[in-house]
């Protein structure tokens, strides 16, 4: 009876967590990869560790602290780059280390042992609460609605921001809002994969998808699917092999990615031939 309940909990939590993580990371990850914001996202992730530390110290939910830190640092970096106030990569590098340092200092200052610290660094599905899963579920819904409603606007601002400014007065609002949503999504996924590993949940699936398609909406779809396959498989493998979940998921995703790349390389030479024949310069009429 006890074992059944544990197993049930394990399966439901695991699969729901994997599903919501794949949906949120697939949508936000496509945005990150397409806009070449991977380094920025790394900065946001590590800066949010400062929020986790302060959360522990102040006795509030560390995820709330991380969310605050993550969103504020994301908006800060976006602001600096919009106004060309500072070299963006340097700003990210400083924020990255500053967040980690803040987190470490505050956790050190917190009396007693911080029991879940490792789960924040490397992720652990076992410590994921129902509230964490619910938050990821809500985020999935928010992202689906937001990207569904504003698909073209987000796509074109990401592709060519300065041209978008010639017709839309809302470019900055969209940039800030989307970046804030992405930061929040990353923070909510930290419970799944940890500060150190979470970014690969966002970057590997879109790169698997981009091997097969260059259409933005299809990249999102295939990211979610391949992300779910990798997350669920990694979860099950980790359970039976008795190895850490987060690392196993990332390992599985990288194996899917490299296999897909090899397959496309093999069939690629055939497609390239077909492609070149139709690419001749056609005259204007």
């Amino acid at each position: 009876m006890q074992a059944d309940l544990l197993q049930y909990d394990f399966i439901v939590k695991g699969l729901l967590g994997a599903l919501f993580a794949s949906i949120t990371a697939g949508i936000a990850g496509t945005y990150i990869v397409a806009r070449r914001m991977v380094f920025l996202s790394g900065g946001i992730t590590h800066a949010s560790f400062g929020g986790i530390g302060i959360g522990y110290f102040a006795g509030v939910n560390p995820v709330a602290g991380a969310a605050l830190f993550g969103v504020l640092s994301a908006l800060g970096i976006e602001y600096l780059s919009v106004n060309h106030k500072m070299r963006e990569d340097s700003a990210i590098g400083i924020l990255w280390a500053f967040g980690m340092a803040t987190g470490i200092i505050f956790i050190y200052l917190t009396p007693g042992y911080a029991p879940n610290l490792m789960s924040y660094l490397f992720g652990s599905i076992l410590t994921v609460t129902d509230a964490d899963i619910a938050a990821l579920g809500i985020m999935s819904l928010v992202l689906i609605i937001y990207f569904g409603a504003f698909y073209r606007t987000i796509l074109y601002i990401s592709f060519d921001e300065s041209y978008a400014r010639t017709y839309s007065p809302y470019v900055n609002i969209f940039k800030y809002f989307t970046t804030a949503l992405v930061a929040l999504t990353i923070v909510l996924n930290i419970r799944m994969a940890g500060v150190v590993l979470v970014l690969s949940l966002f970057t590997i699936p879109p790169n698997i998808a981009m091997i097969f398609t260059r259409v933005y909406s299809r990249i999102i779809l295939w990211s979610v699917l391949s992300g779910f396959a990798g997350t669920a498989a990694g979860y099950i493998i980790s359970y039976y092999a008795g190895i850490p979940v987060g690392a196993t998921i990332i390992f599985t995703l990288v194996i899917i990615w490299s296999t897909a790349r090899m397959i496309s390389r093999f069939s690629g030479s055939l497609r390239m031939k077909a492609h070149l024949t139709k690419k001749n310069n056609l005259p204007i009429n």
Partner: protein, 251 residues
């Protein structure tokens, strides 16, 4: 320019970047079916003029008035000088051209069936058929330029702004490209920034010389002496039956 109802009328416009005056006291009018070559030295304010028209730069002083039907932002098409889009971005030719339809849309926009049909027409008329689904990094410079021209004209603008369109055009495609512009000119006014008077002289109907000040030259013919008088030193001048580039004969 005998049309009384100008598409666009600028009076006493001055523009500054960080307090440095770039355009000073500009009076400029664009009428229907105008084809104006905007010439002048580098840093003279040619691109700035386009940015003011696009509403990207608020003037320091002066007045700019659009004809009533120009107030819809979709009525201006724009081909930027530098391709600002990321060529590695996952977006295909058709989607880039469709982005020209965003102008008449609200914040939430979906592309309708007629928008997509329009995109196919533009793709066909620019000789890009078969490349609809290609990404930009698979295209040549000339093809890329045609894609961005497509984005500028898909909304049927009344005024087309071109910033150095010759930069990316390969020579084999050059005549096609300018021929296409001449064809478009029957439907829309064109304002073309170019440093290469040699090529544009056989297509434009008049000139605007921009070098902080703006001097309008209402004829297709322009001489070195006139350019000098306009304070608009340009080293190349040619007039020929066929478009070609020659240096003005030595005296």
């Amino acid at each position: 320019m005998n049309n009384k109802d100008f598409l666009l009328e600028m009076s006493s416009i001055s523009v500054a970047y960080d307090r440095e005056i770039v355009l000073e006291d500009i009076d400029f009018r664009v009428g229907e079916n105008d084809f104006i070559g905007v010439i002048g030295p580098n840093g003279g304010g040619k691109t700035t003029l386009l940015k003011v028209i696009l509403g990207l730069l608020p003037p320091l002083k002066g007045k700019m008035r659009f004809r009533d039907d120009m107030l819809n932002m979709n009525s201006i098409g724009y081909l930027p000088q530098i391709h600002t889009g990321d060529a590695g971005f996952p977006v295909n030719v058709k989607d880039v051209i469709l982005s020209g339809m965003m102008i008449r849309k609200k914040i939430i926009s979906r592309m309708s069936v007629s928008d997509r049909k329009k995109a196919d027409e533009v793709i066909g008329s620019l000789g890009l058929a078969g490349l609809e689904n290609s990404s930009l990094n698979e295209l040549s410079g000339g093809q890329l330029q045609r894609v961005f021209l497509g984005r500028a004209i898909i909304g049927d603008p009344r005024l087309l702004l071109l910033d150095e369109p010759g930069n990316f055009v390969d020579t084999t495609f050059e005549n096609d490209f300018y021929g296409k512009l001449r064809q478009l000119n029957s439907r829309m006014a064109i304002l073309m920034v170019s440093h290469d008077i040699g090529i544009i002289s056989s297509y434009v109907k008049s000139y605007a010389c921009v070098n902080r000040k703006l001097h309008y030259h209402p004829e297709a013919e322009i001489t070195n002496e006139q350019l000098l008088a306009y304070g608009c030193p340009i080293k190349l001048i040619t007039h020929g039956d066929v478009p070609h580039t020659v240096l003005k004969a030595h005296s």
